[in-house]
C-alpha cells in the first residue's frame, strides 16, 4: 500500500512532536516544575507512530508507564498532556493521574499504566468488547520487553489467541527493563519467539525504521480486523535516556551500544529517507521541527497557566454516582 506524501510528512511531524514533547517534559521534571516520574519515549518514536498511523481513529490502544509517545501518536493534544503533567484540572486526567496514567478515552487511548504488563489484560478486554459488538475496531496493546516476563502478559496473549480477539500485541524491545539488561532477565532475546507458545504469528521488525514498523503493523492490524486473531509484533528499539528522566546516573550502559543506536535515531533516519525520496527537504524539516518546538512552548505556557484542581476534586471520580465516597 502506497502512502500519500502527506501522511509520510505527518509521520515525521508526529515523531518530532513526541521528541519535542518529551525533551521538554524531561527538562520540566529536572526543574521540578512538574512532579512525579516521567518516562521518556525518545528513541522509540517510530514504534508508536508507525503503529498508530496504521490504525483508524476509532481503534483502541493501551499503553505503559512510558505513554506520552503513544498518546501523541493516537492524536493526543500536547496542551492537555502538558496540563496533565503540570497536574492541572484541564489535563487529560484532570490532574489526578499524571504521566503514568495519562489517557484519552475519546481518542481510543485507554491509558498509560503504572503496573508493568497490566495493560495487556485490559487490552484483551477492550478487544473482546469489539468482537462482542462486532464494531470492527482493533486494539493495539503496547508493552516493553520487560513486561513480557509478567504473568499478566502471558495470560492475556493466550486468552486473546483462544478468543481470536482483534488485537495486536506490540512489544517495544528496548533491551532494558529499568536498569536491567534483557539478557539477565529474559530467557529469549527475540520476544517474538514467545508467539509460538500462543499459536500466533511472531514478527520482528526494525523499530527504528518507521516504514518497516508501519508495514508490519498494517498487516497485523488487517489480520486482527479480519477476525484471524492476534499477532505478536516485536519492534527492536532503544531508549536514548535513562529509565526515568534523562539522567544516566544509574545506567552503566556501554557507550558504543548507546552511540550505535543513537546513530539510528528514527527521526533522523526518516528525515533522511524523506529527503532522499524528495518528499521533504532539510529546510522544510527544520521548519516543521521549529514549528512543533514552538507548539510545545505554547502548550507548556498554556499548561503552566491553567487552573489547579480544586480541593473538592479530591473526592470526585471515585465512583460514578457522586456522594458515595466517604
Amino acid at each position: 500500500m502506497e502512502l500519500a506524501n502527506e501522511q509520510l510528512v505527518h509521520m515525521f511531524e508526529q515523531m518530532t512532536r513526541i521528541r519535542e514533547f518529551d525533551e521538554r517534559a524531561a527538562r520540566l521534571m529536572e526543574q521540578a516544575r512538574i512532579h512525579g516520574s516521567v518516562h521518556l519515549y525518545c528513541g522509540e518514536e517510530a514504534v508508536g507512530v508507525g503503529v498508530c498511523e496504521a490504525l483508524q481513529p476509532d481503534d483502541y490502544i493501551t499503553s505503559t508507564h512510558r505513554g506520552h509517545g503513544h498518546l501523541i501518536a493516537k492524536g493526543g493534544d500536547p496542551k492537555r498532556m502538558f496540563a496533565e503533567l503540570f497536574a492541572k484540572s484541564n489535563g487529560y486526567n484532570g490532574g489526578k493521574g499524571g504521566s503514568m496514567h495519562i489517557a484519552a478515552l475519546d481518542l481510543g487511548m485507554i491509558g498509560a499504566n503504572g503496573i508493568v504488563a497490566a495493560g495487556a489484560p485490559i487490552a484483551l478486554g477492550v478487544s473482546f468488547a469489539s468482537a462482542y459488538r462486532e464494531d470492527g475496531r482493533v486494539t493495539v496493546c503496547f508493552f516493553g520487553d520487560g513486561a513480557t516476563n509478567e504473568g499478566a502478559f502471558h495470560e492475556a496473549v493466550n486468552m486473546a489467541s483462544v478468543l481470536k480477539a482483534p488485537i495486536v500485541f506490540v512489544c517495544e524491545n528496548n533491551l532494558y527493563g529499568e536498569w536491567s539488561p534483557i539478557a539477565g532477565t529474559t530467557s529469549v532475546s527475540d520476544i517474538a519467539d514467545r508467539a509460538t507458545g500462543y499459536g500466533i504469528p511472531g514478527v520482528i521488525v526494525d523499530g527504528m525504521d518507521i516504514m518497516a514498523v508501519h508495514e508490519a503493523a498494517s498487516e497485523a492490524i488487517a489480520r486482527a480486523r479480519r477476525g484471524e486473531g492476534p499477532t505478536l509484533l516485536e519492534c527492536k528499539t532503544y531508549r536514548f535516556y535513562d529509565h526515568v528522566g534523562r539522567d544516566f546516573g544509574m545506567l552503566d550502559r556501554d557507550e558504543e551500544e548507546v552511540a550505535s543506536w543513537r546513530a539510528r535515531d528514527p527521526i533522523l533516519l526518516w528525515r533522511k529517507e524523506l529527503a532522499e525520496r524528495g518528499v521533504l527537504s532539510a529546510a522544510e524539516a527544520d521548519a516543521i521541527t521549529g514549528r512543533i518546538g514552538q507548539e510545545m512552548e505554547d502548550a507548556i505556557e498554556f499548561a503552566a497557566g491553567s487552573p489547579d484542581p480544586v480541593p473538592e476534586d479530591l473526592y470526585r471520580d471515585v465512583y460514578t454516582e457522586t456522594g458515595a465516597a466517604r
Binding site: 483502541y60 493501551t62 489535563g91 487529560y92 486526567n93 484532570g94 490532574g95 489526578k96 493521574g97 496514567h101 489517557a103 484519552a104 478515552l105 485507554i110 491509558g111 499504566n113 503504572g114 503496573i115 497490566a118 495487556a120 489484560p121 485490559i122 487490552a123 484483551l124 478486554g125 477492550v126 478487544s127 473482546f128 468488547a129 469489539s130 462482542y132 459488538r133 504473568g151 499478566a152 495470560e155 492475556a156 493466550n158 486468552m159 483462544v162 478468543l163 470526585r316 471520580d317 471515585v318 465512583y319 460514578t320 454516582e321 458515595a324 465516597a325 466517604r326
Partner: protein, 324 residues
C-alpha cells in the same frame, strides 16, 4: 414468588439481567457448565459462547476482560471461582478496576460485577475457605456486597449489575444452600442499605454473610431468655450503612459484631471502632467482636468446627455485654 435457594436466586438474577440488557455478559472458569456451585446454571445453553465466556485458568486475563470491556461500554460479570483465588487477580481488581476511573480523571464508567464464593464449607482447607471482604473494603473505588439469603442475593446482584461501579459480590458458600421466598420477577435490593433482620431493644448484633443466620438463631435463643436482640445485616459492606447501625446502638446501648473472617483487622474492627466512636455516649458495655481465630483454616473437621465462628460464639459475646 417461590422458595428458592441462593444458588438458584443468583442464576436467576444473571439470567434476567442478561435477558434485559444485551451488554451484560458472564465470563469465568467453567461457567459453560454452570460454574462449580451451579450459580451459572442454564446460562450457556441460553446465551451461548458469546455471552457466557468460558475462560482459561487465567484470573488476571479474566478480570482484565471485565476491566477493558467495561471501559468501552459493556457490563461484565466476572466470576472468580473461590475467593482465595482473588490473590492471583488482585492487580486487575485493585490497581486497575478500582482506581482506573479516579486516575483517569473520571473518564471511564466501569460497571463491573466480580462475583466469588467465600467461606468455610466441609473441609475445603486453607486455600479454599477464605472470606476476604476486609481487603476490598479497604480499597476506594470498589463496592462490596455480601448477601446472607436468597432474596437479598437476587436483589443485590441485580442492583450490582445495574450499578455503574465495580462491585465485589461475595456469596458465602454455606448461604448458597439456604432458601427463602424469592420473587420470580427481577427486583433490586439497593446497595448501601443495611437491613434490620430482627428488631430488638437490648443489644445490637451486626452480622455479615453466614453470621446473619447464626445471629438470628442466637437472637431466637436470647428471646427465650428474655433478651431482645436486634440483628442488622449490612448487606453492602462498602459503602457501609453506618447510620442504621449507630441508630440501633443508640437504642440498645450494646453491640456485638460478628464475621466469619479472621477477626484481626477484619471488617468487624471497622464496625466496632465506628460504633465505639460514634455511639460512645450510648454504650453501656464495650463492643465485642466475633470472628475466626488467627490461624489459617484447618482441614480437619474437628478443628474446622472449633475454628468456625457460630451461634455459640455470638451468644457468648452477647453475654459479655449484657449483665446476667
Amino acid at each position: 414468588m417461590s422458595e428458592k435457594n441462593m444458588t438458584v436466586a443468583v442464576a436467576e438474577a444473571l439470567d434476567q439481567e442478561m435477558d434485559r440488557d444485551p451488554d451484560v455478559f458472564v465470563a469465568g472458569e467453567d461457567v459453560r457448565v454452570g460454574g462449580p456451585f451451579g450459580t451459572d446454571a442454564g446460562l450457556h445453553q441460553k446465551y451461548g459462547d458469546k455471552r457466557v465466556v468460558n475462560t482459561a485458568i487465567s484470573e488476571l486475563a479474566l478480570t482484565g476482560i471485565g476491566v477493558g470491556a467495561a471501559a468501552v461500554g459493556l457490563r461484565p460479570v466476572i466470576e472468580i471461582m473461590i475467593m482465595d483465588f482473588v490473590c492471583v487477580a488482585m492487580d486487575q481488581i485493585v490497581n486497575q478496576m478500582a482506581k482506573m476511573k479516579y486516575m483517569l480523571g473520571g473518564q471511564p464508567t466501569l460497571p463491573i460485577v466480580l462475583t466469588t464464593h467465600a467461606g468455610i464449607d466441609s473441609s475445603s482447607a486453607a486455600q479454599h475457605s477464605g472470606t476476604l471482604e476486609a481487603w476490598f473494603c479497604h480499597v476506594p473505588g470498589l463496592k462490596v456486597v455480601m448477601p446472607s439469603n436468597a432474596y437479598d442475593a437476587k436483589g443485590l446482584l441485580i442492583a450490582s449489575i445495574r450499578d455503574d461501579n465495580p462491585v465485589i459480590f461475595i456469596s458465602n458458600k454455606r448461604c448458597l444452600q439456604t432458601s427463602t421466598e424469592v420473587p420470580d420477577v427481577p427486583y433490586e435490593v439497593p446497595l448501601g442499605v443495611a437491613d434490620v433482620k430482627r428488631e430488638g431493644d437490648d443489644v445490637t448484633i451486626v452480622a455479615t454473610g453466614r453470621m446473619v443466620i447464626d445471629a438470628l438463631e442466637a437472637a431466637e435463643q436470647l428471646a427465650a431468655e428474655g433478651v431482645s436482640a436486634e440483628v442488622i445485616d449490612p448487606r453492602t459492606l462498602s459503602p457501609l450503612d453506618t447510620d442504621t447501625i449507630i441508630r440501633s446502638v443508640q437504642k440498645t446501648n450494646r453491640a456485638v459484631v460478628a464475621q466469619e473472617a479472621v477477626q484481626f483487622c477484619g471488617l468487624g474492627a471497622e464496625i466496632a471502632a465506628t460504633i465505639s466512636d460514634q455511639a460512645f455516649d450510648f454504650l453501656d458495655a464495650p463492643v465485642k467482636r466475633v470472628g475466626a481465630p488467627f490461624t489459617p483454616v484447618p482441614f480437619a473437621p474437628v478443628l474446622e468446627d472449633i475454628y468456625l465462628p457460630d451461634t455459640k460464639a455470638i451468644l457468648a459475646a452477647v453475654r459479655e455485654v449484657i449483665p446476667a
